[in-house]
Symmetry: C3
Subunit: 305 residues, 3 copies
Amino acid sequence: MTVKKISLEQILNALQAVSPTVHGPVEDVFADHIADPKKTTATTLDWVNSIKTNKQEIAEGTPAKVILADAEVVYSDAMKAAGKTLIIVPNPKMAFSLVANEFFVEKEEPGIHPTAVIHPEAEIGPDVYIGPYVHIGKAKIGKGTVISAYVRIYDKVTIGENCFFKEGAVIGGAGFGYEKDSQGNRFRFPQIGGVIIGNYVEVGGNTCIDRGALSDTVIGDHTKIDNLCHISHNVDLGRNVMVIACSEISGSCVLGDDVWVGPNTSIRDHRKVGAGALLGMGSVVVKDVPADEVWTGNPAKLLNR
Amino acid sequence: MTVKKISLEQILNALQAVSPTVHGPVEDVFADHIADPKKTTATTLDWVNSIKTNKQEIAEGTPAKVILADAEVVYSDAMKAAGKTLIIVPNPKMAFSLVANEFFVEKEEPGIHPTAVIHPEAEIGPDVYIGPYVHIGKAKIGKGTVISAYVRIYDKVTIGENCFFKEGAVIGGAGFGYEKDSQGNRFRFPQIGGVIIGNYVEVGGNTCIDRGALSDTVIGDHTKIDNLCHISHNVDLGRNVMVIACSEISGSCVLGDDVWVGPNTSIRDHRKVGAGALLGMGSVVVKDVPADEVWTGNPAKLLNR
Amino acid sequence: MTVKKISLEQILNALQAVSPTVHGPVEDVFADHIADPKKTTATTLDWVNSIKTNKQEIAEGTPAKVILADAEVVYSDAMKAAGKTLIIVPNPKMAFSLVANEFFVEKEEPGIHPTAVIHPEAEIGPDVYIGPYVHIGKAKIGKGTVISAYVRIYDKVTIGENCFFKEGAVIGGAGFGYEKDSQGNRFRFPQIGGVIIGNYVEVGGNTCIDRGALSDTVIGDHTKIDNLCHISHNVDLGRNVMVIACSEISGSCVLGDDVWVGPNTSIRDHRKVGAGALLGMGSVVVKDVPADEVWTGNPAKLLNR
């Protein structure tokens, strides 16, 4: 990656929404990379995690000249003597993420790889990235969305803006619904619904989101789904839902906003999980879970509220 | 999708095997789509699920003119007045699936996508669909089978007729068997077997079925495997086995006909699961399971017979 | 596969490191295949598993002329009369694996498939196989490594020698780390680290190994990861670690050498698992696990030492 000098002014512009306060030098101040704490140098953009108990010590001890911290850190004589610039923000980790993602994380350039196979009636918004070997049906993809290699998007899938799909995700495949015939052999119930995905949704590598049977599978804005998850037909996920890796959400489940689904969790079909509930790692959820409760175990039970 | 008017005659032809009985009008009767109950119109092909307690009410209340129901629904005056046609069948959900799949579900047209990489000695039957970026070795694929994008089929894999493989499935990869050398490093035990898959088998997205070590991994007719499952080397699945998403079946397991493997289940290697057994969601099966028993939990135990 | 006659001399050469002892004929002795025990013939390379209780009986009963066994098997009159050649080695299963893999298992020929999309600055070592539709960024790949179809390797990934990647593996994708903004919406924490993979590492089909956030995810030499596993950002796996199918290892976990992770196990983030520990199938590991202990269950607890 070529070195990019990012000035204090650029950093502050990126943080406008959180009204940063600056202490120390403001002229010719810049950072040119982010780094692991062990590799921090004078030009690293550094930050002090609010959960630490020795925040002042970290801010004073870092070799970095530009530091994001919360208001419990004071601009000390030591920092002044070292010529440091301290930027006070409500949530330094979030502020760091904002600035780092804007300036120091490489992004895919918008464009469609020539190997992508795309239905002529697909509607692809502006500034979309479509990687090698992608296969897209008669779907809609909103502005700024990134579709990585080997992602399959079926007909009747609608994807919002600024979404991110990792490699191998399968969106809109036929759901796993069968009916026995008179010989006892199973025969697929028709699966003609679609998938509706909001804005700022992220979907992990090799994750599968099946389309609804007769209606749609729905994924709300800002919901993030990790690698190797299975979202069955007719599932309805709210906003800001987190589904951690290897989880399985069975058919027609409804999860409210801000639900946290721990790694390797399973949820039985038709269950409802209320907003803000947290399902611990490895939970096997067979009952409805009320809002804001923490459930865990196999079978999952209330741990606390 | 272009609208297709399907006549009562065509519907009844599709249902010949289950001897339907018709009440009400038979002339100029048709349906032109299927739909979610909330979106049912006069020309929806509708059906009444036999598990409902208010079947008569549903049959009378629907705006649809053509309705599939079981013999507990009677052709009432209200239905007559509304000009409805009632088709009595033993299993309306199955009858609906049959008709809907034949007329109202889009299927891949047979053909081989030009990007597929196929071994010159592979044997591909008639009416097979092979999607983009498929990679097939010296394998046999039976009539009418659908192979979706990014599916990998290795040498020594034999697939029957009318099977369906979703994107990213890996069939016949080397099994996970190792032996320690004198330095304690693991070295792969030879994996030279194949995979034999029956007819009407369905395999989900990103599911992996490893080949046998020295003999074959076997998947029986009509068995359905969901997304993101792992079927190890030398596993033998019977007929009509259902393996739900994110399940793991370890090496050399033998599952009888009609076994139901709930989501996110694991089965220890060399275990036998008798015909008709049901393994509940999240089961961790470390013992043999007798036929027709229901086991669940971690470790899985008998729930009932 | 064309038949290859492998002479006793070639077999003994392959076993030099374990100092084999030979009894019986040595002239014109050969094997030309390996096979399932049920299909053994006179020219099968056969072996007697040391865990069997009737080893002598197996060695005498097999129709094969060349047999690998441990020192508890004696070269009997019956074997002499049958003209058998008995090769005594410390670990017959390992010796069989060595010889069979060298002579009787088909390998990919080194080469790069023309459909692979590879960054011009990627460093690809000699004798590497890169299959169809592979997508490689600015990464390094060591000598003799096999990269199967649809594998995605991101920038900043370093892979050692003689590794093996099955189809659909995603190596170096962005980790699942988020921070809430002032509206409660999650925003990705920067993920700019890499992945460092040692020698003789094997990675299963559709398995995902995320890159570190600010530093690297590390996989030690000889570690084997099965199909459909998730290795999160900043995980550090030692040497000879075995991760069985469908397992989930959360962010920043550290696993020592020779740890065995049973199928469908989950490990909470930041946990340490000591060298030689064994995690049983379906374990949900929420605490640190000391070296050489066996833990199992949900939540996982000590079973024995």
